[in-house]
Symmetry: C2
Amino acid sequence: MKKVIAPYAVVQKYGGSSVADTERILNVARRVAAKVGSGSKAIVVVSAMGKTTDNLIKLSKQITGEPDAREMDMLLVTGEQISAALLAMALHTLGLRSKSLNAFQAGIKTTGRFTEAKIKLINKKKLESLLQDNDALVVTGFQGVTDDDELTTLGRGGSDTSAVALAAGMQYPCEIYSDVAGIYTCDPKLYPSAKKVRYISYDEMLELAASGAKVLHSRAVEIAKRYNITVYCGSSFSNEEGSYVVNEDTMIEKVVVSGLTTMDNQTQVVVKKLPVDYTLLRSIFEKVAEAELNIDMISIINNGQDLSVSFTIIDEKKKHLEAALKKVLKGFAGYAIEYNTGFVKVSVVGVGMKSGIGVAADFFKALNNIPIRLVTTSEIKISCLMEEKYKQTAINALAKKFKL
Amino acid sequence: MKKVIAPYAVVQKYGGSSVADTERILNVARRVAAKVGSGSKAIVVVSAMGKTTDNLIKLSKQITGEPDAREMDMLLVTGEQISAALLAMALHTLGLRSKSLNAFQAGIKTTGRFTEAKIKLINKKKLESLLQDNDALVVTGFQGVTDDDELTTLGRGGSDTSAVALAAGMQYPCEIYSDVAGIYTCDPKLYPSAKKVRYISYDEMLELAASGAKVLHSRAVEIAKRYNITVYCGSSFSNEEGSYVVNEDTMIEKVVVSGLTTMDNQTQVVVKKLPVDYTLLRSIFEKVAEAELNIDMISIINNGQDLSVSFTIIDEKKKHLEAALKKVLKGFAGYAIEYNTGFVKVSVVGVGMKSGIGVAADFFKALNNIPIRLVTTSEIKISCLMEEKYKQTAINALAKKFKL
């Protein structure tokens, strides 16, 4: 690892379970105070307290089944503002100079897409100036403000994204705290002897996040990668050493496979006997994207006479997908669609695959006789789809084979 | 009453009990929709839902006994934002075009005194422009934003103040809805046959509000008076006709006494045998004001040799007052202080007193043999202090005498 000169400040993010109640907020305050005591100032990004967001959504549902996205954002942004104000109060009790800032005050400017806005810029100058007079600034995660003063939220993983964007904008290191003490080679609930990784590259983390790992959201990893920000992931409840998401170039020893993830409730969709018409194929994927349906493991087979397309989608979106496919295939005849639900996707990820030889061979050898329905690979990932009942056997075999 | 041309829009305010839960928010939405259906647009000012503010205060107390005023405001402003967003959603379900706006979006600029800010101006242009494209704007009451983007709250009666300030700024009529169907000559809980007044002047309302009536906060009345805004006070739960707070000049028939109020838990303070030194007297009142102690019914007697000062303060502030007096009287000798707690102040108010003769005589005649400890009068009010046990007798006698 390259040497880091003691930073002027650090960005820390504490998730919903870390600020679930006032007791935990006081705990976070003590951790921030320890950081400040060590000579660094802090920009602390907080999520809403535990169930706050769920309770706000519940209230909106009592009003209407289809809340307006703008008003939903007006409603939800209050959650982080509550935890931010309480954390600033808690920091005061420890003698720290602190102010809470909502997105408008911190100048976190976003696009205007309500519930799924993207951060455009932050007010670096204002934050730097406020840091002169404060030990810690508490900033509401998950939210932003448009140039028209509309309040927005960033969608899933929003607070992680806020933290990394602030770190990138301010050029500070970033620390993400949650109830998990780092990044594991495999979910310890599924494979109890899973190991914690010390260093993982952006691309590995991206593949892991996309395949189901929940420690750090992929949007946040993308920003970290783009701005070359090292992200530390640790526990807010212990002082156990966590994991670092880093630039691949700084990793001296690259393990072949650094992680294993699984995603349940996958539906395999197979569209057979389509005419060999790439315009049709394109419009299938376009319609699916328009319907905001997230599909994965796409494979296409052209046997000379016709096309077969296969991909996966999460079970609960199956009906939406059926409707979208019906629309785009209207007017075509002769094709057949199969839906098979209840599959699980198992993936192994590792930058070492790029240079490592025989990873695919080892992968299939480990899976032995498990019937595999679909396989896709990237430079650093191999994924396969199997029946739910083989999941645990596959996890154990792969973890053993790749020493996870 | 002067003729009013059908307004382009009206400002309506709904208090905490009117938006206590989502059922009641839907009820408010129906009332706003009825208003819009009658051809008027609406700016709807909302308080926080029922217990929200109390719950937020409770959270802050779990963190610290002395929360920072700035952070308290950051915390509390979320309450109105929640009810505003939910009301906008409810208005959408009725087919209305609506947007919720927090203080920053509505441009409600205030002074920087946290927890007790004063409104300086509103963004009339922005609100007018938003009203072009919407049937109803929902604005968070009780809060504002400073020129430095700091969020503030307006203190007690803040949402009433927001509503009247918006009405004044926009030059729209103002309607204040609560769980009480108007302004009564006397609290119906104390005097069940109390009558509702149809019209009441700003000054009468100010005296009533200052003497304990809770329908409309005195700060809001002051703004209404300054900008000559008629304020309608009605119930959000019925269509019963409410009361109008109006310019005295528009009232054709002025009743001598329009209202009676009481304030419990009053301590009478008597400082005797002070030197005849008006510098000392002034510094007594200055120190009391500095300590933010609200005193009332001040009377001073100069008997030639020495001064006696008497006034009232609410029981719970007695200790603070004692400390303040001790400080200012340090170095003086020979004086004596008496504190008598548990008194009640009974006041009658009416613009008709200005021209009515013998009101004081009728007042004392009605009170008959009740021992009165202190009397103060203004142009339109007579107040007297008595023991708690005489309160109900006094109310009944005065209400009967002045036909309340």
